[in-house]
Amino acid sequence: MKLYCLSGHPTLPCNILKFKSTTIMLDCGLDMTSTLNFLPLPLVQSPRLCNLPGWSLKDGNAFLDKELKECSGHVFVDSVPEFCLPETELIDLSTVDVILISNYHCMMALPYITEHTGFTGTVYATEPTVQIGRLLMEELVNFIERVPKAQSASLWKNKDIQRLLPSPLKDAVEVSTWRRCYTMQEVNSALSKIQLVGYSQKIELFGAVQVTPLSSGYALGSSNWIIQSHYEKVSYVSGSSLLTTHPQPMDQTSLKNSDVLVLTGLTQIPTANPDGMVGEFCSNLALTVRNGGNVLVPCYPSGVIYDLLECLYQYIDSAGLSSIPFYFISPVANSSLEFSQIFAEWLCHNKQSKVYLPEPPFPHAELIQTNKLKHYPSIHGDFSNDFRQPCVVFTGHPSLRFGDVVHFMELWGKSSLNTVIFTEPDFSYLEALAPYQPLAMKCIYCPIDTRLNFIQVSKLLKEVQPLHVVCPEQYTQPPPAQSHRMDLMIDCQPPPMSYRRAEVLALPFKRRYEKIEIMPELADSLVPMEIKPGISLATVSAVLHTKDNKHVLQPPPRPAQPTSGKKRKRVSDDVPDCQVLKPLLSGSIPVEQFVQTLEKHGFSDIKVEDTAKGHIVLLQEAETLIQIEEDSTHIICDNDEMLRVRLRDLVLKFLQKF
């Protein structure tokens, strides 16, 4: 059993598990942090961004000034943003049988894999995962395609040139594998390969293994996966949450008794408590708006935004913000808000029960109804007519490199009355803000990451007790910025096995058993004999038939009739020769009684010696040795077959035959 690790990002995993002749890809995350090295794509022509000076080497060589621009001491690539793909060279991806998706954030690299690697398998995911994943992809494609950029920079990627660049460009990894965004056509094609599954549904893969998605509590439709055969169980935990937010709670009990637990997607901000952060978010939002400022919340179109809107729903009246407009701007805003209301079966119990009232599970429906929350596909069109300040705007993309957020950063960045509040934990907010410096607007960082923290992981591991834990190397040491926090790492026994990008891990357990079925007629013919109380044995003579990873014992064919009429045997008739069966023996030989029996049968001068493994009975007269051990008995006599057979029969009297 092997694990191929294709992604170095612990929350955007992409691993391949080879297990019992199947090749299973676990998640297909796309590392988008690479886009932070690029200049933002403004929706409206930005003189500031256009006029940034080109970057030149220390010696004044300016051959890169078309590709690289300098802004407040940072250097950015002036090109269409590119993403860091999972490793494609480690294993032939066309051999992947299935891809299991755990949540919509972890499927963003799917089109790269399904469309460009010769992949012919099936992708499994839950319905909300697919629908919301589609929205995220659609939004991404839309954000990038609507700001066409003629230039595609590639010179800087040259290894010799990259070395000369300032950080962080100099340290960017695998730049040669960075790719531009996929197209909508590729998205559609990739999504067509997905087969929908429900929680606890058992899916057979070639009869060899069974995979089952379990609720992971993190997002709508998010799942952990159980991959098991009859005697082995691997759990894949990715992006799980124990907090009470909108999704169905995490199913922990089904993870018990795993041989291996692959643990990814823990919280990215282990020191931040989501409740405190929501409080911080609300307080800062209220303070800004009360002072006449605007609030910008860069976010994904689905996920935490539902919880934030729910908090605000309860908060705005108490904070006297009822008259403040809330805008949600995304090409998929409408679909996201509506989808959230129709996936009732994937929601937590509280929200599910609302559906029966019937009421919309999320209160943002009421915000929309009362015109407190308005949503628009983009800043163009209706939005510009309705736009009223001070206001609160939720829009993407959280990297601040593309999407409508770029426009608001340019628009509001100059006033200290305004505030940008970062709630998504995927991007470093300082790096995200770098191309907008100098910036007058206030920046508040309250990352809300509901995924498991290390205390919860430690409790979870105690509860489910896997034999082995496998996790990204980042989880086996404290975060670099807090190297003294020994509590911010996975602490379990035996210590977890860690992996990093482009590593292959041999998982530490051996398969010892295989299940074989016995055909009823064969089973009928068996005659078990009790050899010990509670233990019966029967001999089986059968043909082992193996097909689709299923093994069946079938009755042996009858002994072949003499085929006098036919001259030649066909290959398919070539049945194995059934040898005459010798009976099997069991039991142990009590030495004292055996010696008495020997004496009774006329042997004399018998000597018994104790050895480490048993006894040696010495028939001195006959110059014969009988070696009795726990699992074997040898009669050693030179050239006296008669004697040997006599002795053998005496030995056999003490043993059971069947």
Binding site: T271, A272, N273, G276, M277, V278, G279, E280, C282, S283, N284, A286, L287, R290, N291, C311, Q314, Y315, D317, S318, A319, G320, C446, Q482, S483, H484, R485, M486, D487, L488
Partner: protein, 825 residues
């Protein structure tokens, strides 16, 4: 016993004796026991039994019933009752004649019945014996009946109450049997102990030598109670005999029953018998301090430090034990821990403390919380060590808070592990903030004070701080701000408080906007207290008015949470008293134009919750008392507007507060009733009180009397009491006027009195015609306000408490139960 009760008693006994009639609950039986206790304390029990033979019949009947037929409750009751009667020696003899006591408490009695498995029976048996054990005859009885042996085994009873009662009874028997023995200790040596006492001491001695921890604990508990209760010379002999055995326990590893051992040592040390003698006690304590685990040694150290007569060396050692965890924290985080003198004693045994702190998160949290609580308790006591290491303690509290915040990055591995254990730990944070708050009174260097303010600000600012932590942080901040004896006007001196204020207000603003109502509430309370103390300081006013705080506070008057509205009302009341709501008035909100008074009146009249309305009533009273500008402009209008609202309020506290407001108003218009202190210097009044008839007319117009008379018959006693006091005050003040009235009552007065009588009868809906001063005076004169005052002073349940009603209740309950049974069929 009054005849009515004596009449009911046979019926009661019959009910109790009848196994088919279940008594509803234990409380009435307990009340019955209390009553019998008072009766027997007041007179002869023997006489009582002779006059009421049904009582002995009840006891006999309980014994005669088949054991399985007796209800455990009644059996327990009977045991207690028998004990209560037998407390008097003559009655004891009387009961003994019929072998009743032996039947109840002897080995053949309930002790051997199946009902013994019910804890309440065992408890009743012990309580009965406890009441009975009052005289020498009882001692003989206890010795002969085998009760003491039974008590030994009951010490390990599964019910903690029973076990504890058994242990206490043993102590009582020991003390009783030693009663009257020669005071000189020499005469008690050797075999001079009375048999019963000797038996108990032997048992304790055997238990102390036992290897089983529960036995040792039992022995230690008996001794702890003995030394805690008995302060006779024989206890010194007892300690002389058992002290070495106790000291011997310390040689075991681990030390058995460490908590009980600590209790015992402290109990012995507190006994006045040992005030002068040493008896090896201090030596044992010192040994124990050094060998117990840090969490076990903490309570002993605190107890030792609280003692008056303990040697200095031991005090130093004990204080060292208390300080040790904090010193370890400071060392692990590489802080220079205080002056060297303090730490010399603490180095010993610190490895054990470090081990505890690092062993697990829960051990670390437990030890730190305990240490902080102990030091907090010690801080204000006169016994606290003279050399109080203020700097070390403040530094430790600061560093602990930083560890909890995760804002300190220690280089050592111990520091790293501490950081992991304490990061985000709310329990330790709360304990440290409480402790830091109490340290505000000591002298602290300016540099350290800056650190304190910095860590408090960090806690207040941190998004991770929970509401309870924030509340404590606000409280600690307030104490440091007010106790640091730095008026905010000392800005030019560069002292921390005013600078801190500038940083504090943005945080306060944020907290006032918190989505969590507890946080908004704590922030408002903090603002109220701070304004009350510093409202007059120019720098404070400047910072406050420059911030959004007054505006936000105003907005919180409409908060959805009633507690927050109440706190906002109080805060706005305070801000307004200090003239600090100015900033909000310029904000252009509609409410502002109406003025704060209007807003508060709105809350008073329409708020559905009591808390905000109470707060408004309190603020209005304060304003009236302090002559707030908005009120002083037209006091009569103010009173006339407020009174109708408060008088009709459903919340009694609002009505009581309304009466308080009237009282303030009367004091201002009529002058104080009488000076609280005859020597008090009274300021010359700005305007002399108006003439009485005029005042009376005004009061009538303002409907003060209507309110007061109604309140007099209020269903809530505090309101009625207050109204009564108020009317008495008025009666007192109007006495000179009443002489002017014609004798004889006019018809109007009669109608007023008739209305009042109806009100008294509960018909409060009856309107009162507009009152005239003369009717009021007549009503005041004719009413027995003094009598009413004394009646109101009695507790409200005095009627229902009588024994007669108790007996009736018990009988009635049984009757009801019977009815219910009949219904079932």
């Amino acid at each position: 016993m009054d005849p009515e009760c004596a009449r009911l008693l046979p019926a009661l006994c019959a009910v109790l004796a009848d196994p088919s009639q279940a008594v509803a609950d234990d409380t009435c039986l307990e009340k019955l026991l209390d009553w019998f206790k008072t009766v027997t304390e007041a007179g002869s029990s023997l006489l009582l039994l002779q006059e009421n033979p049904c009582l002995v019949d009840l006891l006999t009947h309980v014994l005669d019933l088949k054991p399985q037929n007796v209800s455990p409750r009644v059996l327990s009751f009977s045991l207690c009752l028998a004990g209560t009667f037998a407390a008097q020696e003559d009655c004891f003899e009387y009961l003994q004649q019929g072998q009743l006591l032996l039947g109840l408490f002897g080995e053949a009695g309930p002790l051997s019945w199946a009902a013994w498995s019910v804890p309440i029976v065992r408890s009743g048996w012990i309580r009965g014996l406890r009441s009975l054990a009052q005289h020498p005859s009882a001692l003989h009885f206890l010795g002969d009946s085998g009760a003491v042996d039974a008590l030994f085994s009951l010490q390990g009873d599964s019910s903690l109450f029973v076990a504890s009662a058994a242990s206490q009874l043993l102590v009582h028997i020991l003390a009783l049997s030693m009663q009257g023995k020669a005071a000189g200790s020499s005469s008690l040596q050797g075999s001079a102990w009375p048999a019963c006492a000797q038996k108990i001491v032997d048992h304790v001695e055997a238990c102390l030598c036992s290897t089983a921890a529960p036995q040792v604990t039992q022995a230690l508990n008996v001794l702890t109670t003995t030394f805690g209760r008995c302060h006779n010379p024989w206890t010194e002999v007892l300690w002389g005999q058992l002290g070495p055995l106790v000291a011997h326990l310390l040689e075991n590893e681990p030390i058995p029953a460490a908590h009980s051992l600590v209790d015992l040592l402290l109990s012995v040390a507190r006994s006045p018998v040992f005030a002068s003698a040493d008896c090896g006690l201090w030596e044992t304590t010192a040994r124990m301090l050094s060998c117990l685990s840090p969490s076990q040694a903490g309570p002993l150290a605190l107890g030792t430090l609280k003692l008056q007569n303990c040697p200095q060396a031991l005090r130093s050692q004990a204080f060292g034990v208390l300080l040790q965890p904090l010193v370890c924290i400071l060392r692990a985080t590489a802080q220079a821990p205080g002056p060297p003198g303090v730490l010399d004693e603490t180095t010993e045994g610190s490895s054990m403390t470090v081990d505890t702190l690092l062993s697990s998160k829960s051990a670390c949290v437990g030890l730190l919380c305990q240490t902080l609580a102990h030091l907090e308790e010690l801080q204000p006591l006169p016994q606290r060590p003279l050399h109080w290491p203020q700097t070390l303690l403040v530094e430790a509290a600061v560093i602990i808070l930083k560890l909890c915040e995760g804002s300190v990055a220690p280089s050592s591995s111990e520091g790293g592990r501490l950081c992991g254990a304490l990061a985000g730990c709310v329990r330790v944070q709360r304990a440290a903030l409480d402790f830091l708050g109490t340290l505000s009174q000591g002298a602290t260097s300016q540099e350290l004070m800056l650190q304190v303010f910095a860590v408090l600000l960090e806690t207040l600012e941190s998004p991770a701080s929970s509401p309870t932590v924030l509340k404590k942080a606000f409280q600690a901040t307030l104490r440091w701000l007010l106790d640091s004896s730095l008026p905010p006007s000392s800005l030019d001196l560069g002292l921390p408080a005013p600078l801190f204020l500038k940083e504090l207000f943005p945080v306060l603003q944020k907290r006032l906007c918190s989505p969590c109502w507890e946080v908004r509430d704590s922030a408002l309370e903090f603002l109220t207290h701070l304004t009350a103390c510093w409202g007059g300081e120019a720098d404070f006013r400047e910072v406050l008015l420059a911030s959004e705080v007054p505006k936000l506070t105003w907005q919180l008057l409409r908060d959805p949470e009633s507690y927050v509205r109440a706190s906002a009302v109080t805060a706005m009341g305070r801000l307004s008293s200090q003239g600090l709501q100015a900033a909000s008035e310029s904000s252009g909100h509609l409410e502002v134009q109406q003025g704060l008074v209007g807003e508060l009146l709105h809350i008073l009249s329409v708020d559905s919750e009591g808390f905000p309305r109470r707060a408004v009533a309190r603020v209005f009273t304060e304003w009236l008392r302090d002559s707030h500008a908005d009120v002083a402009r037209d006091t009569e209008w103010f009173v006339a507007t407020v009174l109708p609202m408060v008088s009709r309020d459903l919340d009694w506290e609002v009505r009581a507060q309304g009466l308080e407001l009237v009282q303030v108003f009367l004091a201002q218009t009529l002058g104080q009733s009488s000076p609280h202190c005859p020597y008090v210097v009274t300021l010359p009044k700005a305007s002399p009180p108006s003439p009485l008839p005029e005042v009376l007319r005004t009061l009538c117009q303002l409907q003060v009397f209507d309110f007061a008379f109604r309140a007099l018959f209020d269903c809530d006693r505090p309101v009625a009491q207050k109204a009564c006091d108020l009317l008495l005050f008025l009666k007192d003040k109007t006495a000179p006027c009443s002489g002017l009235q014609e004798p004889g009552e006019s018809s109007d007065v009669t109608s007023v009195e008739a209305t009042l009588q109806r009100w008294q009868a509960g018909e409060q809906g009856q309107p009162l015609s507009t009152l005239e001063p003369k009717e009021v005076l007549a009503a005041l004169r004719s009413m027995d306000l003094e009598g009413l005052q004394s009646r109101l002073a009695e507790s409200s349940d005095h009627v229902e408490k009588s024994p007669q009603s108790l007996l009736q209740d018990v009988l009635a309950t049984v009757a009801v139960l019977e009815e219910n049974v009949a219904d079932c069929y």
